[in-house]
């Protein structure tokens, strides 16, 4: 028997680098599953929680490379979570990207004011989502994205 060739590249193995840890704070189970699936397929380690307080706690504990933050959340909404995260010196530089279905005027500005670095409107585009978040990671060129 010869060597088993993996059908797909394994995220944990990647292309010779350690998987980046992404914290996903999202209360909708389907959305959580979708994003987790997509990002894991792209080689990210995804840690997900379903409410704001857990999100703040997990971020402090896990020190993720990037945080994806829904805005409408139980216990603590996304704006409050972002502000709490920015209060933690360890997380001051951690990119936070709001992923939300709030698309009314001012929603984006509110998220940025609360401390987010980016804003992705739902529904996400599965074809480009991974690339969109990759732009916020350290070493990648950071730039504002509108939609």
């Amino acid at each position: 028997m010869g060597k088993r060739q993996p059908v797909h590249p394994h995220p944990a193995v990647g292309k010779g680098r350690a998987a980046l840890k992404v914290l996903l704070i999202e209360d909708n189970e389907q959305n959580r599953y979708l994003a987790t699936f997509l990002l894991q397929k792209k080689g990210y380690e995804v840690l997900s929680v379903a409410d704001g307080l857990q999100g703040v706690e997990a971020a402090g504990k896990e020190r993720p490379a990037l945080i994806l933050l829904d805005i409408q959340l139980p216990t603590l909404d996304g704006y409050a979570v972002a502000r709490r995260l920015r209060e933690n010196p360890d997380l001051r530089e951690t990119p936070i990207v709001a992923v939300t279905s709030y698309a009314m005027a001012g929603d984006r500005e509110k998220a940025m004011e609360a401390g987010c670095n980016g804003y992705i409107e739902k529904p996400i585009n599965p074809d480009s989502f991974a690339d969109e978040i990759a732009r916020f990671l350290p070493g990648k060129p950071q730039g504002g994205s509108r939609e």
Partner: protein, 755 residues
């Protein structure tokens, strides 16, 4: 009057000077008159004295001297002096004096005016009266009182001589006689003669002396009359001068007319005013027939009046009106008849007074009074006067008709209860108001109140009140002029009610509108909330649909067969369309709510054009269309919102591609002045003119017969048009049916958004 005595009783000495006046008198016999009882000297007949021829001579000398003195006399005092001297010098008496009976300081004194002979001045020092006192009981006083000669034969024995006895005896007087001076019945003094001998005066002597006294009195009287005449004449002349002065300086014409025997009238005299008025001189006037001065037509009247004055012996007055070029002249004529001593009227005195001014003033006054009366009576205003106690004293005709009272029915009655009701319909106390007006009329120069007609009908009157004061400045009456404003008041009330109604309606409507606005605002908020929620709630399931479809199509979850891929592709397309719809609806609502924000920045226009073209290129290629770029070099930079510009261009390009079956879609640009023009032209079916406006409205897809064959929300152009407006530009359409369309976006080069 000439000098000398005209009225001398003895102008020449008569043949028998001893009886010059009274031929009836018998010659007086010489007889002693004894004592006081024999004082009636004139009653004693005189007898010639056979023994006294010298005495006779002496008497003749006395009479002669006396007559000469009387003839020469021009002055009363001189005459008296002369007589006294004659008595002493020619009559041989010791002393003679004349005193005049006068009243000095209320006392009847005898004033000595002249004397002759020895007196030693005692005469002028002593007191002699002609009253009943002891000083008046001497011979002089008694003679004056009694009017008869008084003689005292022996002064030493006469009891009434006490006051002067000592003085008189010292001077050797022994007897005396006093003779009253009497002229025309009036005793005005006495002549008193003293003799050194007792019983010196016999009857004959007394008679002669009495005659002398009579002559002297007569002479004095004559002199006095002559002096009086002279004085009168002087006074008369002065009076005449004064009268002339007056007559010639009065403003009236004065003249006298002589009445001729034949009944004709001639001017006898005229004053200067008359001469000035007629232009005649004095000489022409005197004797001029009146008929030559008075015009013929007036003769009957004027001479009738003259004759009336003559007949009635009374002054006649009448008035004459004369027409002159300068206007009417009024003359008040007075004719006074003047009778002569026999009672026949020989003269008329005429007086003409110019009454023009007073008559004109009077006529003017009458005219103005008539006018004012007319005005007041016929004025279309109520005019009334009322006293301080509220009683009506006058109501004009209009007022009488207006209120329904005749003057005699209302005059004297109180205004309250007649024309002023006790209270107004509104309840205002009018009785009190009237009291207040009466108490202080000045404060109520204007007032409006309800009044009452006789039939009880209420009317509204605007009053003007004026105080009428009497000569002392006291408020006498109040003059009130009123205008009926009932109709106006009614109209005003109606207007006020209307206004109040209108105000209420406006207020009601405003309230309604406010409620509607609140409702609309609430609805708007609800809409916004609804859109936000819908947007959010729709996106969540769409996230799953689009997400998992994508994952499946990417075959991340495993390989797909062709049919599965085709069907999942349809799901993906529908989901994307739904998302586009949601986004477009959201955009429209954002723009309409003024929530769409533009973010102007400087960018290269060509970059945005190529980006938009690049995005549409795959679809154009798929449909076999040529996508042409017509971009001149050096288009340059623009300040605007690149995202919105691109959104518009993508939309326009997509539309062009969708509605162009074959041919070319061209994206062109140019800079014209301050504007950038970007256009999308196609060779498609074109748009009918009548559909141009419809095209830019929400949810309008024009009926092309191909409806719903073409995907789209129907919101695209509406959004583009609004976005262009937000950017300070516009989109215009040119199209020809069947030949294609051209959408042109104009943008300001230096302006990112509407201010």
């Amino acid at each position: 009057m000439g000098k000398g005595l005209r009225y001398c009783r003895n102008p020449s000495a008569e043949a028998n000077p001893l009886s010059p006046q009274s031929p009836k008198k018998t010659r007086p016999t010489r007889r002693r008159v004894r004592g006081r009882t024999a004082r009636q000297a004139t009653a004693i007949p005189l007898k010639p004295s056979p023994a006294g021829l010298d005495r006779e001579n002496r008497t003749l000398r006395l009479i002669g001297g006396c007559n000469q003195a009387l003839l020469r006399a021009t002055d009363e005092t001189e005459l008296i002096k002369s007589i006294c001297h004659i008595l002493v010098d020619k009559g041989g008496y010791r002393m003679a004096w004349v005193g005049l009976a006068e009243i000095i300081d209320g006392e009847k004194r005898v004033r000595p005016v002249a004397h002759a002979g020895h007196t030693d001045g005692f005469l002028y020092r002593t007191k002699i009266t002609w009253d009943e006192s002891e000083f008046g009981r001497g011979p002089t006083g008694t003679a004056i009182r009694g009017g008869k000669p008084v003689f005292i034969h022996d002064i030493t024995k006469d009891p009434d001589f006490v006051p002067w006895r000592k003085d008189v005896l010292q001077r050797g007087y022994a007897s005396c006689i006093s003779l009253p001076l009497k002229d025309r019945g009036e005793i005005f003094g006495a002549m008193t003669i003293y003799s050194l001998q007792v019983e010196a005066f016999d009857e004959r002597e007394i008679e002669i002396l009495a005659e002398m006294a009579g002559d002297l009195a007569y002479g004095i009287g004559a002199l006095r009359i002559a002096a009086g005449h002279a004085r009168l004449e002087t006074e008369l002349r002065a009076s005449e001068r004064q009268l002339n002065l007056i007559l010639n300086n009065v403003s009236d014409i004065i003249f006298s007319i002589s009445v001729e025997e034949d009944g004709g009238f001639r001017f006898a005299w005229a004053n200067d005013r008359f001469l000035a008025a007629t232009g005649l001189n004095k000489d022409q006037v005197v004797g001029l027939p009146v008929s030559q001065v008075i015009p013929e037509p007036a003769h009957a009247l004027v001479f009738g009046k003259y004759r009336e004055a003559i007949r009635t012996k009374k002054a006649v007055f009448w008035e004459e009106v004369s027409e002159y070029p300068a206007g009417k002249k009024y003359g008040q004529v007075t004719m006074v008849p003047v009778d002569d001593a026999t009672g026949v009227c020989r003269h008329l005195i005429g007086l003409v007074h110019d009454a023009t001014e007073s008559r004109q003033a009077e006529e003017k006054l009458k005219e103005s009074e008539r006018k004012y009366r007319e005005l007041v009576e016929n004025a279309n205003s109520v005019i009334l006067r009322w006293t301080r106690d509220g009683r009506l004293t006058y109501l004009n005709e209009f007022g009488q008709k207006f209120f329904g009272y005749r003057a005699e029915e209302i005059t004297g009655r109180n205004v309250i209860g007649t024309i002023v009701p006790e209270t107004e319909t509104s309840g205002r106390d009018l009785a009190r108001l009237m009291d207040r007006i009466l108490a202080d009329p000045a404060a109520f120069e204007q007032n409006t109140n309800e009044n009452m007609r006789r039939n009880g009908e209420r009317v509204w009157i605007a009053w003007t009140n004026k105080i009428v004061r009497d000569e002392d400045g006291q408020v006498k009456e109040i003059l009130s002029i009123g205008t009926d404003i009932t109709a106006r008041k009614k109209a005003e009330d109606e207007v006020r009610e209307l206004n109040q109604g209108l105000e209420k309606r406006v207020a009601d409507r405003t309230a309604e509108l406010a409620i509607e606005r609140d409702r609309a605002e609430a609805a708007d908020r609800l809409k916004s909330a609804f859109l936000a929620i819908m947007s959010h709630e729709l996106r969540t399931p769409l996230n799953s649909i689009i997400g998992f479809t994508g994952i499946l199509l990417q075959q991340l979850a495993g390989p797909l067969n062709d049919e599965q891929r085709k069907q999942l592709g349809m799901v993906q397309e529908s989901a994307r369309h739904l998302l586009a719809l949601i986004n477009d609806v959201l955009d429209i609502s954002k723009i309409e709510a003024g929530q769409m924000q533009v973010h102007p920045e400087r960018f290269i226009l060509e970059d945005s054009l190529r980006k938009a073209a690049g995005l549409v290129a795959p679809l154009a290629e798929k449909r076999g269309l040529e996508l042409k770029l017509d971009i001149p070099p050096g288009l340059g930079e623009i300040v605007s919102d690149p995202q919105r510009v691109e959104q518009i261009l993508i939309n326009l390009l997509n539309n062009a591609v969708k509605f162009t079956p074959k041919g070319t879609v061209t994206l062109g640009a140019a800079v014209e002045g301050p504007l950038a023009r970007v256009w999308v032209a196609d060779t498609g079916m074109g748009i009918k003119r009548e559909d141009f406006d419809k095209l830019f409205r929400s949810f309008q897809q024009i009926d092309t017969g191909l409806s719903r064959q073409h995907e789209g929300t129907g919101l695209g152009l509406a959004i583009c048009k609004r976005l262009a407006g937000l950017l300070g530009g516009d989109i215009r359409l040119e199209s020809e049916w069947g030949k294609g369309s051209r959408f042109t976006l104009t943008l300001p080069l230096e302006r990112g958004a509407r201010p």
